[in-house]
Amino acid sequence: MKLGRIRTPWWHRALERLIALFASSAILAVVAIGIFVFREAWPLLVDDDALTDQGGLSSLFRPQLWPGYDEPLHVWQPVGFPGKLDVIPLVVGTLKITGLTMAIAIPLGVGGAVFLSEVAPRRLREWVKPAVELLAAVPSVVVGFFVLAILAGGVQRAFDLTYRLNAFVAAIGLAFAVVPVVLTITEDALRTVPRELVEASLALGARRWQTTLGVTLPAAMPGIAAAVVLGFGRAIGETMIVLMASGNAPVMGLDPTSSARTLTATIAAELGEVTPGSDHWRVLFLLGALLFVVTFALNELGRWVVLRLRRKLRAEDVAPISGTTRRAPAAAEVAP
């Protein structure tokens, strides 16, 4: 086809090589993060003399009868006499806060998305969407400050709580960060439900609400699941909000009105202080590696669901009645 093609100058080729080299940066970055976070934790897993003070690697997960205690307990008090590194309270705290966050964020996010895509007139939607995007752009330290300075006191008075800073207010704060994720992806998922499906349901005499609950939502379920999974990943990884709002007490137990200490807040609060190479230092990097692996898995799960959803949609695109699927979930892939 290309008749009078000019020979490509050598430096074009060189630049193209460079571009291709740069393109591998994302892969390199992910691999490097994995390697360099694991690298600091690695001796913990292979050295026999790691954590000998408290009984080897398994002691990170095992209740023990520490001096001064009445019964074997999971204790995270890394600075002490002796220091006690048991990560179970941190895992419990993380799950407690994340669970509460999702309990708040899913109804708000999915409800908001339903309103935007099923109820709201177009004009309203055009006004509201940027507001939600704006919420996603609020730095988490600002949310943390807002919860610490204003919300916590109000919530404590309203519910007469013992602790001003607790898992519940931290979860409200986290919901600020998670709702935009859930809402955007869910809305995309709802909008990709084929119009003819909805129209068929309405034509059969179903009410609008029956259609929404019985047809649209179930059809969008994979997308909503992806939204939840990605939102969960966001909640587990968020740092500043929980650091400022959760009270950071390494409490065992799932009482939402007590405090909790999360993995992220523990790293943020403690890492600056510890001697590099100490057991404490390594355990903090191990927690980081754990977070990395968990969020990686959640991400892959979320992505897999979104991709499958998209493939299904594309398959439907091939033989549609009118071909009016509304929009592909482009945002979903990079939402967090």
């Binding site: 520490w66 001096p67 001064g68 205690y69 204790v75 008090q77 890394p78 600075v79 002490g80 006499f81 006690k84 309270p89 610490l148 006191g153 013992t162 602790y163 001003r164 800073l165 650091l243 400022m244 009270g247 950071n248 007490a249 390494p250 409490v251 065992m252 007590s258 405090s259 200490r261 609060a269 403690e270 600056g272 202080e273 510890v274 001697t275 590099p276």
Partner: protein, 316 residues
């Protein structure tokens, strides 16, 4: 692409500036460590800048452990510590080839705060320990006619205040797991101020809008209110020195700074930050320590070790 090019050029320009910065390094002192001392260090930095416009001081917080770890890494010139420096930490510094010096630079009274409406008359150290170990969980357990649960506020474990409290109040036992761990003394104050059920601890100088509980050394002894006199004469049981730690005999700007800190002007800033200036004889001792280190760096090891003479009781 033009933009990218400009950006890259900018980056190289910055890299070129590094040369200049190496020369500047001689005029900059970095100081990291205790959050308790951050305000004090910032005041020092500001006032020192007025005294010596040619030098500048970079202050970072994070906790006493942060500062000493940074000293071990060689990433700071001075570490601020609100607790005794551990022998192991001194050993670490010596392994790096230095002769570490621990200078007492101010006196702090570790105050116990409660809400202003809290009528608790006083606490003895044993009751305080029972509260923070979680052995006494209600206010009625420590002599207040109030059945409500005590809400414990404490500091992050990177703080020297945390370690000091654990060592001197808790008898090296652990804090109750329920202890709310807050990232700064200010956060503790704010929490206690808004919480009638709360109790917290931290530097004397931070206390605004909370009530200081008089502390008795043992049950039956009279309780003592922390103030300048009781902190310095040792009758208040929770008084301590604040330290600046050096990894080796100081030179240049670092030396000028620590000398200035021990001067009248430096000590004047101490009161402004809510701590107490060093008693005259301690100040003399620290100055002598500095001079000895300059005369013969090897001697400073002996002069600086965390020997018992450094504790506040010995200076009574």
């Amino acid at each position: 692409m033009r933009v990218a090019l400009v950006c890259v050029i900018g980056l190289f320009a910055c890299a070129g500036a590094t040369r200049r910065a190496e020369r500047n390094a001689a005029h900059t002192v970095t100081l990291r460590g205790s959050d308790t001392m951050v305000v004090l260090c910032q005041r020092w930095a500001q006032a020192f800048r007025e005294a010596r416009p040619d030098l500048s001081v970079q202050v970072g917080g994070g906790g006493s452990g942060v500062g000493i770890a940074a000293l071990l890494n060689g990433t700071t010139d001075l570490a601020a510590a609100s607790r005794d420096v551990e022998p192991s930490e001194l050993d670490g510094l010596r392994e790096r080839g230095g002769a570490p010096i621990v200078l007492r630079v101010a006196v702090d009274a570790l105050a116990v705060y409660v809400h202003e409406d809290n009528a608790l008359p006083s606490l003895d150290v044993a009751s305080l320990r029972a509260l923070y170990r979680g052995r006494a969980t209600h206010w009625s357990d420590v002599g207040r006619s109030d059945a409500s649960r005590v809400v414990l506020y404490g500091r992050e474990n990177s703080s020297g205040t945390y370690v000091y409290f654990k060592e001197h109040v808790l008898d090296r036992f652990d804090f109750a797991a329920e202890t709310q761990s807050l990232p700064g003394t200010a956060a503790v104050i704010q929490a206690v101020r808004h919480d009638p059920k709360g109790i917290g601890y931290g530097g004397f100088g931070f206390a605004h809008g909370v009530r200081l509980v008089p502390i008795a050394p043992t049950r039956g002894e009279p309780a003592v209110v922390p103030d300048e006199r009781t902190a310095i004469d040792g009758s208040y049981p929770l008084a301590r020195f604040l330290y600046l730690v050096l990894s080796d005999a100081p030179t240049g700007a670092t030396r000028d700074l620590v000398t200035w800190v021990l001067s009248d002007e430096g000590q004047a800033e101490v009161a402004g930050a809510g701590f107490f200036p060093l008693p005259a004889e301690v100040r003399e001792a620290e100055r002598a320590k500095l001079e000895a280190s300059a005369a013969d760096p090897a001697d400073s090891i002996e002069a600086s070790a965390a020997d018992p003479a450094d504790s506040i009781e010995a200076s009574r």
